[in-house]
């Protein structure tokens, strides 16, 4: 019983309430949501709101419906939109954040004031940001009217009302595209492992890559998720929302980068200067590599925010603009307007899986490094 010293017992007792609450309200509810997503709750209106609904287990039917059902093309577009949104949001925040941090790192006059100003948008909630930007991006107001101040013609871009899309692709090609991309990544992993002479790893990765690429080449083209081609692409109406989101979160990214920059010892810069490095060379070969972990953290934090985004879109274009809609919004509408709780739970589970893709590798790598330090 050496492990259960008084100290440890206390620790357990103090921690127990939060562990129980977490267990019920986080993991219990996740489990319940996943279970509901495998049932037919809500598919029959008579059972959706019944006091004691009869709920049947239907396996993965809801997921099948979401990815290949005739009526669920809205969800598929939202999934595509989320991916585009995430990519541009992260790129925008990293670019703007790094730029601002580099400027502030040169200690301009009134640095503290600028830092506060740049960080300020983060103190607003997405609802407030959304409302402000909604006004600014009105079809005939704000940004579109800006050129008239200088005597120009008002712009006509339909920020949130555009129905155009670019980079369209057929949803039927999705399995093919995914398999090819994953296959190529695995091939690259195999090549890396081979170079480092990790034989088992190289062989496993190579076999997986070969299987996937072979499937993509021979089976994939004959597989059709949908009866008819269905085009999805990047909806231009999302641009306004991306701008608002970047405006809000780039200050935060700047703070992350600034902390990273301040953490780089002065000696390193001096050493680089003594070695005769120019400013550009110093940034490229000394400072940016040292900022890589910061970029990774920022990408993960921003990535999970953007996958879950709901309030900003709700405030900016309302729940019913399908051209700017995102899965989280659809989940809310499907559950609470259409009463299709199982379908809503399935969308929620898909979101959870997407976020897990981003978060879990990060967490596990964090744990590993912490254990390394301990």
């Amino acid at each position: 019983m050496k492990g259960l010293s008084k100290d440890r017992l206390w620790a357990i007792i103090v921690l127990l309430p939060s562990i129980i609450l977490l267990g019920i309200f986080v993991y219990g509810f996740i489990g319940r949501t996943v279970y509901v997503s495998l049932t037919d709750w809500g598919n029959d209106p008579a059972q959706a709101m019944a006091l004691h609904p009869v709920i049947k287990f239907v396996g993965l039917d809801n997921y099948k419906e979401l990815f290949s059902g005739f009526l669920q093309s809205r969800f598929r577009q939202e999934l595509v939109s989320t991916i585009f949104f995430t990519v541009f949001f992260i790129l925008g925040c990293l670019g703007a954040g790094l730029g601002l941090a580099l400027i502030l790192d040169r200690n301009p006059k009134g640095e503290g004031l600028w830092r506060t100003i740049f960080l300020f948008p983060m103190s607003l909630s997405f609802i407030v940001t959304g409302t402000i930007w909604r006004w600014m991006l009105q079809p005939q107001g704000g940004l579109n009217m800006a050129p008239t101040v200088l005597g120009g013609q008002p712009a006509t871009f339909g920020w949130m009302s555009s129905t155009d899309a670019i980079w369209k692709f057929d949803w039927n090609k999705l399995p093919l595209l995914t398999a090819s991309v994953v296959g190529l990544v695995l091939a690259w992993v195999a090549f890396g492992a081979f170079r480092r002479a990790e034989r088992t790893r190289a062989v496993v990765a190579a076999i997986c890559a070969a299987l996937l690429l072979g499937w993509a080449l021979f089976v994939g083209p004959n597989l059709h998720l949908l009866a008819a081609p269905e085009l999805h692409g990047f909806n231009l109406a999302l641009i306004g929302i991306i701008i608002a989101a970047v405006w809000q979160m780039s200050g935060y990214t700047m703070a992350l980068y600034l902390a990273g920059l301040r953490g780089i010892p002065e000696e390193l810069r001096e050493a680089a200067q003594v070695d005769g490095a120019t400013q550009t060379q110093m940034y490229r070969s000394v400072i940016f590599p040292l900022l890589a972990p910061i970029s990774l953290s920022a990408m993960i934090i921003l990535g999970h925010i953007s996958l879950k985004i709901f309030d900003l879109v709700y405030a900016m274009s309302g729940p019913d603009n399908t051209f700017t809609s995102v899965p989280a919004l659809n989940m809310y509408l499907t559950s609470f307007r259409q009463n299709q709780f199982a379908m809503g739970a399935a969308i929620g589970t898909i979101l959870l899986i997407l976020v897990a893709f981003v978060i879990v590798p990060y967490l596990s790598s964090q744990f590993r490094t912490q254990e390394g330090h301990a």
Partner: protein
């Protein structure tokens, strides 16, 4: 986090309603509609003093937020005593089929409402042999608004049919008006859609669409969709950025000639915009619907397991009474469901609507919950969005039929 908040809210409101001599009514009437509800509550208290009325309002989102809170409360087994819901399938398709409401047929009989409420309305709020809610107010969906000065300037008159509308549209475009028709965000387009459908298929065709006798895939419906597509070609391109009020503004300032919107727009034009009916703004029935009244109504019902059943029944009696309806509706800008209301209390527009109410064929609105259940209505918006972008009538009607089958329409 959101769920936790809703839960907390539900618990808080449920807790306060449990004492005796109380009545909890649940609605999304706040802001402009608040005074009308307050007047009703005042009247209730005059008749039944000593009952503490708990007015639980969840504002915002045209009822979206309120409905979500209501659903969590009903699922949690703590229903409010009476809640606001659009009369017809929005109530029936969600709550009656799930066996959560009490039949009010006996109340209709004892209060003699069957004689004063039009039979078409009784039909819309009945199913499975029961009557499920008491409608308080009536709004009209099929109204086309215009600015008399604009029509005079361009030398056109308000069209009587949709084909006529399209030729008027071409004429206006030729004279330099970019968008003869103004529409706003998604729901206003669905609102327009239902009026194109009623105007093209006729009242009977529209009714058949919802009782399953007419399929969406029928060539007549496909043709009506095509007409809707052409009508949308007359509309502004920045629609989804506009609220219905902003769309109405474009009628006032003469940017566009016509707007199909429910008759709450009359209140906006007279009260907010200070325009005189008939000269500042004009109205007519939506093309092809002159003898039809496309209605929507707010109603209250009696959920099973309501804690204060007796008080709730009294509340419903007040709602259905002549005095109750004539107190509420002039303030809300709607008309009474009863055909015996005292018209001297109503506005110029409402008087004309009340006259039509007595003499027209009454059908229900789709978007506003009268003829289609929520599972249909809320998914239909995405379908219309896609149709407006693609103009593919065949695809849209096929999808609509699937949606109708799934929602159990015509069963």
């Amino acid at each position: 986090m959101k769920k936790a908040l809703l839960l907390a809210l539900a618990l808080a409101t449920a807790g306060s309603a449990s004492a005796a001599g109380k009545l909890e009514i649940f609605s999304w009437w706040s802001g402009d509609e608040g005074p009308a509800l307050d007047a009703l509550v005042k009247l209730y208290n005059q008749k039944y003093p000593g009952v503490k009325v708990d007015n639980a309002t969840v504002s915002g989102g045209a009822g979206t937020n309120a409905k979500a809170v209501l659903k969590t409360r009903m699922l949690g087994g703590t229903p409010p005593d009476s809640f606001q819901v659009h009369a017809g399938q929005e109530l029936i398709g969600t709550w009656v089929v799930a066996n959560r409401m009490e039949d009010l047929s006996s109340l209709f009989k004892s209060e003699g409402w069957a004689k004063v409420v039009p039979a078409d309305v009784i039909k819309l709020i009945s199913s499975k042999g029961g009557i499920w809610s008491v409608p308080v107010d009536i709004h009209r969906s099929n109204v086309m608004w215009y600015n008399p000065a604009t029509l005079k300037k361009y030398g056109v008159t308000a069209p009587k049919t949709w084909p006529e509308f399209l030729s008027t549209c071409t004429a206006l475009k030729a004279k330099g008006m970019q968008a003869p028709l103004v529409v706003g965000e998604s729901w206003t387009q669905q609102h327009l859609w239902e009026n194109v459908m009623v105007g093209t298929l006729g009242a009977q065709g529209w009714e058949n669409l919802w009782n399953g006798k007419l399929k969406f895939t029928d060539p007549r419906v496909v043709g009506a969709f095509t007409t809707f597509g052409k009508v949308m070609d007359c509309a502004n391109k920045d629609a989804s950025g506009l609220s219905w009020q902003q769309a109405s503004d474009r009628i006032t300032d003469g940017t566009s000639a016509f707007n199909v919107m429910g008759d709450w727009a009359a209140g906006y034009f007279t009260t907010t915009k200070k325009l005189a009916p008939g000269t500042g703004f004009g109205w007519t029935t939506a093309p092809g619907t002159s003898k039809v009244f496309v209605m929507l109504a707010d109603s209250f019902g009696l959920p099973k397991g309501a804690k204060n059943r007796a008080e709730t029944l009294n509340w419903l009696k007040v709602l259905g009474s002549k005095q109750g309806q004539d107190t509420f509706n002039p303030l809300k800008g709607s008309i009474a469901v009863r055909t015996d209301s005292d018209l001297s209390k109503y506005s110029v527009y409402s008087k004309s609507a009340a006259t039509d109410w007595k003499h027209s064929k009454i059908v229900g609105s789709m978007y506003h919950g009268a003829v289609a259940p929520e599972s249909f209505t809320s998914a239909f918006g995405a379908l219309i969005d896609q149709f407006v972008a693609s103009k593919d009538s065949k695809g849209a009607t096929a999808a609509a039929q699937q949606l109708a089958d799934k929602a159990g329409i015509g069963k």
